[in-house]
């Protein structure tokens, strides 16, 4: 089975990558379907996106085909712990900031992000989260006067 696989998909990176590009391009084509493809002088609102999307379909297909023909490296494992901690913390910040303000949203964000590190020490992380949030709260809204909410607004 594994032999068969390595023969069939010789450069998994390129095959998956090419396929992903084609899917993105097809999504774009679907989304601009209602826009005119050409106007009086050749160009309309839907022309450029279509041109670029067709180009992407073609190039994606070529990346895929070379992926079948040439040997290439395997896809490295994804670190789901990192994705959840890092990107999750950013999403958490986005969800909380308007209602809870920087003073409250900063702490769980920094804590969640910290879990991405394998050498996390909880006590240190908690103290650091509070200190960092306090520092940001002072620096951005107060010292630099950025219009970011600092306290919860209910």
């Amino acid at each position: 089975m594994s032999d068969h696989r390595s023969q069939a998909a010789r450069s998994p990176q390129d095959i998956v990558g090419g396929l992903a590009l084609i899917l993105i391009a097809l999504l774009a084509l679907y989304l601009v379907n209602h826009l005119p493809a050409s106007g009086r002088v050749g160009f309309a609102s839907g022309t450029a996106p279509r041109l670029f999307a067709y180009g992407l379909v073609g190039l994606g297909a070529m990346v895929m085909i070379t992926g079948w023909m040439k040997e290439g490296p395997h896809i490295e494992r994804f670190s789901f712990r990192g994705i959840i901690a890092i990107l999750g913390s950013v999403v958490l910040f986005a969800l909380m900031i308007r209602t809870f303000g920087l003073a409250v949203s900063g702490i769980p964000m920094v804590l969640l992000a910290g879990t991405a590190a394998r050498d996390i020490r909880w006590k240190e992380a908690l103290v650091f989260a509070i200190a960092l949030t306090a520092f940001c709260g002072f620096l951005f809204p107060i010292a630099l006067g950025q219009p970011i909410p600092l306290w919860p607004q209910f």
Partner: protein, 502 residues
């Protein structure tokens, strides 16, 4: 000498107390992020953009420019003392610089890096001043078709200069172009690919894409690699290189400066490629190529001069043609737009204080950086003892606050996280994100010029290659075609790959 009087005018603008302080601040922040691995100039400038609202445009741009070239200085410190690239453009500096440090010659390595950078920075500054006027005049003769073709050439350069597969780089260009068309159509006001989301009506915010794909994806990747920090413990002494060192390094500095100046102007090039190219060149020209990797001083002097020269000269296409050649310059476009400045040939005429003031400030900044980096090196080393587990959450919250502050939109923060995921996947599939970003930045302008040119030619697409109508455009398209063919030619591809091997 018009050049001298212009430069003198520039110094009178740059030498006000406010502008000198802003220049110093930019240089300090640049050195800081240059020293710290995992945060680069793109994310930093993006983060600081909202803060510059309150400054006058000249001061704001002086500060932001300082961050970029300051990072080139700071990056070498980490590379030499810790064997980690503080900045991606100092990857090759670590090869020989760290070996020198291990032999107790850290002082000489740091000094030659700083001196080389300063010479390169000075040359780069003079080059901007000298090329500014003629290039601006050329740019004013450009019609929409010529502009479009120039950007095509720019994108082809970005493909040729990208590392890895040409085909994949080309695909990234088209992805970037496609992403740039998201938002309201400029002529008809129709919504394109916005999913009915209001915050997407103005298009994808550049900072969300850049910070996600470069900043967040980079953090994810750093966390996967166990980093051992091999800090050279002994105190750095002897900051003066010997006469023999200087004599050996001088030609490398000159070559690095020239190579870096050229690569900085080309789109997709910039500081990283300049450093790689210079290292390969020095190794080829050296009488003792075996010394490279074991502490050859030319392996530090060349790349460090090259990356700083490139950092300076990449301002040339932005200031004269309005075309950003790399991601950092793209974000400078954002900074200019905030202050209502349209990058391009008109800057020199409409805002001479900005144009010449910024150039003069670059030289002042380079001078300050030598002082910031050499005597204060102990201070920066101490920063390197901050563990990464504390560094990356700090970078994340700064970035999140920065992105939010651009439009006060939580949606932008979400979008950044999404692009972070996309960037991580791209890295895993060996696609290089840099060409995509350059294409994204040029995309809007390209579509606009394309449509204008088509309107003028009444819908005839051959107008771009019609020598009688648009000679400049025709030549540019032909050059682009030749470059693209050369890039896929096997023998040349081999040479190009060699540059990236080290």
């Amino acid at each position: 000498m018009e050049l001298l009087s212009n430069l003198a005018y520039g110094f009178s603008v740059a030498a006000t107390i406010q502008n000198i302080l802003l220049c110093l601040l930019g240089a300090l922040v640049g050195t800081l992020i240059g020293v710290l691995p995992g945060i680069g100039p793109v994310a930093t400038i993006a983060m600081l953009l909202p803060i510059t609202y309150k400054l006058d445009p000249t001061g704001a741009l002086i500060m932001l420019a300082g961050i970029y070239y300051g990072a080139q200085y700071g990056g070498s410190t980490t590379a030499i003392l810790v064997n980690l690239p503080g900045e991606s453009s100092s990857v090759v500096t670590a090869l020989d610089g760290h070996q020198m440090a291990k032999k107790g010659r850290a002082g000489a390595a740091l000094a030659i890096a700083a001196i080389g950078s300063f010479i390169a920075g000075t040359f780069g500054t003079i080059l901007i001043a000298a090329l500014g006027k003629p290039l601006t005049e050329i740019a004013q003769a450009f019609g929409p078709a010529d502009y479009f073709s120039l950007m095509v050439l720019g994108l082809v350069c970005a493909v040729v200069l990208a590392s890895g597969s040409v085909l994949k780089a080309l695909a990234m260009i088209f992805l970037g172009l496609l992403l740039s068309t998201v938002g309201t159509d400029l002529e008809t006001g129709e919504q394109r690919m916005t999913f009915g989301l209001l915050p997407l009506a103005d298009g994808i915010e550049f900072v969300t894409l850049a910070m996600g794909v470069f900043g967040f994806a980079e953090i994810l990747r750093n966390l996967e690699q166990e980093q051992s920090r091999d800090i050279v413990e002994q105190k750095v002494t002897n900051l003066m290189p010997t006469r023999a060192d200087l004599k050996e390094a001088a030609p490398a500095v000159v070559r690095g400066t020239l190579l870096g100046s050229i690569l900085g102007i080309l789109p997709g090039g910039g500081a990283v490629l300049a450093a790689f190219g210079s290292y390969t060149l020095e190794k080829k020209l050296s009488k003792t190529p075996k010394e490279f990797g074991k502490g050859a001083i030319c392996g530090v002097a060349g790349p460090e001069s090259a990356n700083n020269a490139a950092a300076q000269t990449s301002f040339i296409p932005l200031l004269t043609l309005g075309i950003p050649p790399n991601a950092v310059m793209a974000i400078m476009v954002g900074a200019m737009t905030i202050h209502g400045i349209v990058p391009g040939p008109q800057i020199m005429q409409k805002q001479p204080d900005l144009f010449w003031g910024m150039i003069a400030s670059m030289w002042i900044g380079n001078l300050m950086l030598v002082i910031i980096n050499l005597p204060l090196v102990g201070l920066w080393v101490r920063l390197l003892r901050v563990p990464y587990r504390m560094l990356f959450p700090a970078i994340l919250i700064f970035c999140a606050i920065g992105v939010y502050s651009i439009n006060n939109q939580p949606f932008d923060v979400m979008l950044t996280a999404f692009f972070g995921l996309c960037g991580y996947v791209l890295i895993k599939l060996s696609f290089e994100p840099a060409p995509m970003l350059v294409a994204f930045v040029l995309g809007k302008l390209m579509e606009e010029k394309l449509r204008q040119a088509m309107l003028l030619s009444r819908g005839d697409p051959t107008t771009f290659v019609s020598f009688s109508q648009h000679p400049i455009s025709t030549v540019l398209i032909i050059v682009s075609g030749i470059l693209l063919v050369l890039a896929v030619t096997p023998s040349l591809r081999k040479k190009r790959d060699e540059v990236f091997v080290e």
